[in-house]
């Protein structure tokens, strides 16, 4: 795993006076930073298919913003004395990235927004908000602040997506359904209470999920909050609640 952000310590053991939860936070930060870097790459790719210069500028601005978030997470790691590794090639993140890039290859701007803004950002907003509540001091504030910023991204995309849905509702809903099973299946596996398919390739050592209780979190809570945020976002788009609930119940656990 290589780090994309400059780190002050190379290994967690090299920093003196680590708090007992520092290594848990290291993995939480690593997951968040990897997600931000994938998002930055996604927005950069999106800029490449934008015909409208304003949309292109927006996408590039978002990419820059996501890189800033990644840097903020790395900085929080330094503050508590741990390096924050990232791995955009980790198996789940790679699959998510590939799904996004398939939309790019098709020059499917709306598909890209659905994947990034509705699915990946729902996960980010919900999980960052939960982490923000329990994170100590500056670390918690950083997560909470980034959750708020990511929520604004979603709002920005909602107007575009609503207008698109109004043009052809059945077609739009079918596209969301297809992307749901392609993307959310991977996210659901990431969010499962246990990583039953092996190491996620982002956690520094063993899987962090069983240790989350040490920072007053649980994998079940992060999954629940993420799926709730996702359902609520789809509600706001206007998709029928009974349909989206059926989709969610069909995800792997």
């Amino acid at each position: 795993m290589e780090s994309n952000v400059d780190l002050s310590c190379s290994l967690p053991g090299e920093c003196p006076a680590l708090s007992p939860t520092a290594l848990i936070w290291q993995d939480v930060l690593a997951q968040a930073m990897t997600g931000e870097l994938v998002a930055a790459m996604n927005y950069t790719a999106l800029a490449g298919i934008c015909d409208d210069p304003a949309e292109m500028a927006d996408a590039l601005e978002h990419a820059q913003g996501e890189r800033g978030h990644a840097a903020a997470f790395a900085s929080e790691g330094r503050r508590i004395g741990v390096p924050v590794p990232s791995n955009v090639e980790a198996k789940h993140w790679k699959r998510l990235r590939e799904a996004f890039m398939r939309r790019i290859a098709e020059r499917d701007f709306i598909g890209c927004l659905i994947v990034q803004e509705i699915m990946l950002e729902s996960f980010a907003v919900a999980s960052y908000a939960r982490v923000g509540r329990v994170g100590p001091g500056s670390l918690g504030k950083t997560f909470a602040a980034i959750a708020t910023e990511e929520e604004k991204h979603i709002e920005h995309a909602m107007a575009i997506l609503r207008a698109e849905r109004d043009l052809d509702t059945p077609r739009f809903d079918d596209k969301v359904r297809q992307l749901h099973f392609e993307v959310m299946t991977t996210l659901a596996e990431m969010l499962a209470r246990e990583c039953v398919h092996g190491h996620c390739e982002v956690c520094y050592g063993s899987c962090v999920k069983p240790s989350l209780f040490g920072i007053s979190l649980s994998a079940a809570e992060l999954r629940g909050a993420s799926l709730q945020q996702y359902l609520r976002t789809l509600d706001k788009l206007g998709l029928p609640g009974e349909v989206t609930l059926a989709w969610v119940t069909q995800l792997p656990v």
Partner: protein
């Protein structure tokens, strides 16, 4: 989880986005047990998928925001039809106690917003939902054309009719009976009291709120009805009541551990109409004739899409539904989109008769009586044959 689970964006409520088509009625409910919740999720998940493990369901369900789960179409014996939706508030089955009141209220409000957003003309509040909102309709958004009914009037109608039927089956004379109502000051309990008090010899009222009990008793005394009261905490009084009564209606909004039904008179007729059920399945009531009250049966046809038959209505007979939900369907079939049951303490014999007439016109009648052991009437018929 906090209120966030149930919140619905107000802007969404105001526009027509997400409307499901013509929705005459919406039914708001929740599941009483984890088994029932698992069955609901299993239908949504589809039979081609393995059912979710129970521990996963317990982890996931509390996070599901209130939402429509299925479409419901009902028919009437006079040819009327009505379309509706069932909205589950997804109150976790083990959170029906007062400790979860705030979150549950938020969930019911969220479910109500879903009904408004869907454009429902009338909404019936099933089970715990009506108890939570009873007397607090101002908790619901006012900016809409949707009306809400607790459905309690039809529930009372079916409880009263069930008591009368059971008495007839058991050869009891109502006029010689002592009636005990547990949860007597609630909307359903007081409605039952008003309907049955003039028909029995003596009325015993039991509830938690002393002041409401006193007022209700005064109302009956002024009509020349013999009445006594006891609070749940009055162990001696309530035990004496249970030993004296030969008709008992349990209509408390919470399981009533403070009230000792163990000492109930042998052979007493007991109607469990509480929600959640007031009598634990393990309750030992030797020789008591127990039945579940407040249930009706729709004879003009009822279709769920997806097919939730026997899952949303888990009864040993087809097309049996709680009276509170049937009230919304009956009013929709009658095209009377009005808040028929609203607030607490307004259920009178006249209103009950009016609602029962509307329901009967559309083929909605008292359901066959049953209890935790199965149908009561078949058991009764069998025992009759023995004699």
């Amino acid at each position: 989880m906090g209120n966030s689970v149930a919140s619905v964006d107000e802007r969404e409520t105001a526009d027509t986005r997400g409307r499901i088509g013509d929705v005459d009625f919406a039914l708001i409910g929740h599941q009483e047990s984890w088994r029932a919740a698992a069955d609901v999720l299993s239908v949504l998940r589809g039979h081609e998928h393995m059912p979710l493990p129970e521990d996963e369901i317990k982890d996931i369900l509390p996070w599901i925001p209130p939402r429509a789960v299925c479409h419901v179409e009902v028919g009437s014996e006079v040819g009327a039809k009505a379309r509706g939706i069932y909205i589950d508030s997804f109150i976790p089955p083990d959170c029906l106690d007062s400790a979860s009141l705030r979150d549950n209220l938020a969930r019911v409000r969220g479910a109500a917003q879903c009904a408004i957003k869907a454009g429902a003309k009338i909404v019936s509040l099933g089970g715990f939902s009506s108890i939570l909102i009873e007397g607090n309709f101002d908790l619901l958004s006012e900016k809409h054309d949707t009306v809400f009914t607790t459905g309690n009037t039809l529930t009372v109608a079916f409880i009263v009719r069930g008591i009368k039927k059971m008495c007839a089956l058991e050869g009891r004379d109502l006029r010689r009976s002592t009636l005990l109502i547990v949860g007597a000051t609630g909307d359903v309990g007081s409605g039952c009291a008003r309907c049955l008090a003039p028909l029995v010899k003596r009325v015993l009222l039991c509830a938690r709120n002393v002041e409401r009990l006193r007022k209700l008793a005064e109302e009956f005394r002024s009509e020349g009805i013999e009445v006594e009261v006891a609070t749940d905490s009055d162990q001696a009084g309530s035990q004496q009541f249970s030993a004296t009564a030969d008709l008992v209606i349990c209509a408390a909004s919470l399981p009533s551990p403070g009230f000792r039904l163990r000492g109930i008179a042998p052979g007493a007729v007991v109607c469990d109409a509480g929600y959640p059920k007031n009598l634990a399945p393990s309750a030992e009531l030797p020789d008591a004739k127990v039945f579940f009250g407040g249930l009706g049966q729709i004879t003009g046809g009822m279709k769920f899409t997806p097919d939730f038959r026997g899952i949303l209505n888990r009864h040993p007979f087809p097309d049996v539904v709680h009276g509170c939900l049937l009230e919304g369907m009956a009013l929709a079939l009658e095209r009377r989109f009005e808040p028929f049951s609203r607030g607490r303490g307004f259920i009178t014999p006249e209103r009950v008769e009016e609602m029962e007439t509307i329901a009967a016109l559309h083929g909605i009648h008292l359901a066959p009586l049953y209890n935790g052991d199965g149908p009561v009437e078949c058991v009764h018929a069998a025992s009759e044959k023995q004699y």
